[in-house]
């Protein structure tokens, strides 16, 4: 039987080094502003934020695995639960929930009701096409790729666009089987 993954990231979040979220929120906001100035096109900014998120996710997954003590997830369902309950909590201090599974269990939605990235944020009319939180989808995509899951992550609902919650759709495209150069018991 598979060991039970931690159900919540509360204890881990309490144990990691933390900073005032204002610094984080304002830094992210300043980055987005600067990118809008430098790249001019909203679509380019979306891409850039996603790329930055991907790079962060690729690194962050190591920290996540090292500190969270989660064991191997048996399936994609468990993986998304761990991201929602442990991953989000451990880094952003908030918890997401997982819903909207499709029939074959390869696509679901992460619902985020509270998001420290958007404290103080309001999108002006000129930025309507901006996926302000695109860095988060990039992080998830990057992190999952490091554990052999190719995914597509996209925003379905966005509170900055007037929706009641943030909804991220995570679609499993391909699970790359791990190949060890050695046998498990060596």
């Amino acid at each position: 039987m598979a060991p039970v993954a931690p159900r919540s990231g509360d204890a881990i979040f309490a144990s990691v080094e933390r900073v005032n979220s204002e610094l984080f929120t304002l830094t992210y906001g300043a980055i987005v502003r600067q990118l809008l100035t430098d790249l001019e096109e909203v679509d380019e900014v979306n891409k850039q934020l996603d790329q930055m998120g991907y790079n962060i996710g690729v690194r962050l997954v190591d920290e996540f695995l090292a500190k969270s003590n989660v064991s191997r997830c048996v399936d994609f369902k468990e993986t998304t639960e761990v991201i929602a309950k442990v991953g989000f909590k451990m880094f952003l201090g908030v918890t997401a929930s997982v819903t909207n599974w499709d029939a074959d269990g390869t696509s679901c939605s992460l619902i985020l009701e509270d998001n420290p990235l958007v404290d103080f944020v309001e999108l002006p009319d000129t930025c309507q096409g901006l996926y302000y939180c695109n860095i988060i989808s990039g992080v998830i995509r990057g992190a999952l790729e490091m554990v052999s899951m190719k995914t597509e992550v996209s925003w379905i609902r966005d509170m900055l666009r007037g929706d009641d919650v943030f909804e991220l759709q995570v679609k499993l495209i391909k699970q790359v089987p791990e190949e060890y150069p050695y046998k498990d018991d060596e």
């Binding site: 979040f13 990691v16 080094e17 933390r18 900073v19 005032n20 979220s21 204002e22 610094l23 984080f24 304002l26 830094t27 992210y28 906001g29 300043a30 980055i31 502003r33 600067q34 430098d38 790249l39 850039q48 790329q51 930055m52 790079n55 962060i56 690194r59 962050l60 920290e63 451990m90 880094f91 952003l92 201090g93 420290p116 404290d119």
Partner: protein, 225 residues
């Protein structure tokens, strides 16, 4: 309760700003990249100081504002105060953080130890490591400049990393952008200590120095709005 996020979130963002601006958007144009990174910091410092001074009376002079940056502002950001504040009484202040958090996990090659100030391009060219480290310091430099400018103190802020792994950032007047290494060294020797943390680490860690415009008299009050 103060809302918090993991420190690695902020560190990840900082790493990514530097990497995207230096290797992507402005690859091979370190000057432009540096200016953008500083601008992001400026924005953050400006907004943070606005928030952190909301409940306070105006600062009566520059020294009071600088002390606010050293104590309250720095504590909010780094959970510790500036270790050492010095001035030459001609408007230059040197802030020194002997264990600067954002550099505590940056690896520094020994060869970069002599490569000098980040505002000295020839020194920067000498060592990629020093340049990379310097890039990380434009962000906190921007934060300090943004915070001080919001408090009515226009200034330039720069970092001095000549003592790597100890690192120094210093500021000076806007109309005098060069020669800061010499200036800050002079200040270290001649400067009078205004504040010294009694628990200062003996281990030499990264440090941040800050100077204020030389043309303004120390203690001369400026309107803060």
């Amino acid at each position: 309760m103060v809302r918090e996020v993991a420190e690695s979130c902020v560190e990840s963002l900082l790493t990514e700003i530097v990497s995207q601006y230096c290797n992507g958007i402005y690859a091979n144009k370190p000057d432009l990249a540096a200016r953008r990174i500083e601008a992001i910091g400026y924005q953050v410092g400006h907004q943070l100081s606005e928030r952190y001074t909301m409940e306070r009376p105006r600062f009566s002079d520059h020294l009071e504002a600088i002390k606010f940056i050293c104590k309250d502002f720095w504590s909010e950001l780094f959970k510790k105060q500036i270790d050492n504040l010095k001035t030459n009484h001609k408007g230059t202040f040197v802030l020194q953080d002997s264990k600067f958090r954002w550099l505590s996990r940056v690896s520094i090659a020994p060869s970069s130890a002599n490569s000098g100030s980040i505002q000295d391009p020839s020194a920067m060219a000498e060592s990629k490591e020093a340049q990379a480290t310097g890039m990380y310091l434009y962000f906190p430099c921007g934060i300090i400049r943004g915070a001080l400018s919001n408090l009515g103190i226009p200034c330039a802020v720069s970092a001095d990393i000549s003592n790597l792994p100890a690192c120094f950032a210093c500021t000076q007047g806007e109309d005098e952008q060069e020669g800061d290494t010499e200036a800050s060294k002079g200040i270290q020797r001649e400067g009078e200590e205004l504040h010294k943390d009694s628990k200062r680490e003996s281990r030499e860690g990264p440090s941040v120095l800050l100077q204020r415009p030389p043309q303004q008299e120390a203690g001369h009050a400026l309107p803060l709005d």
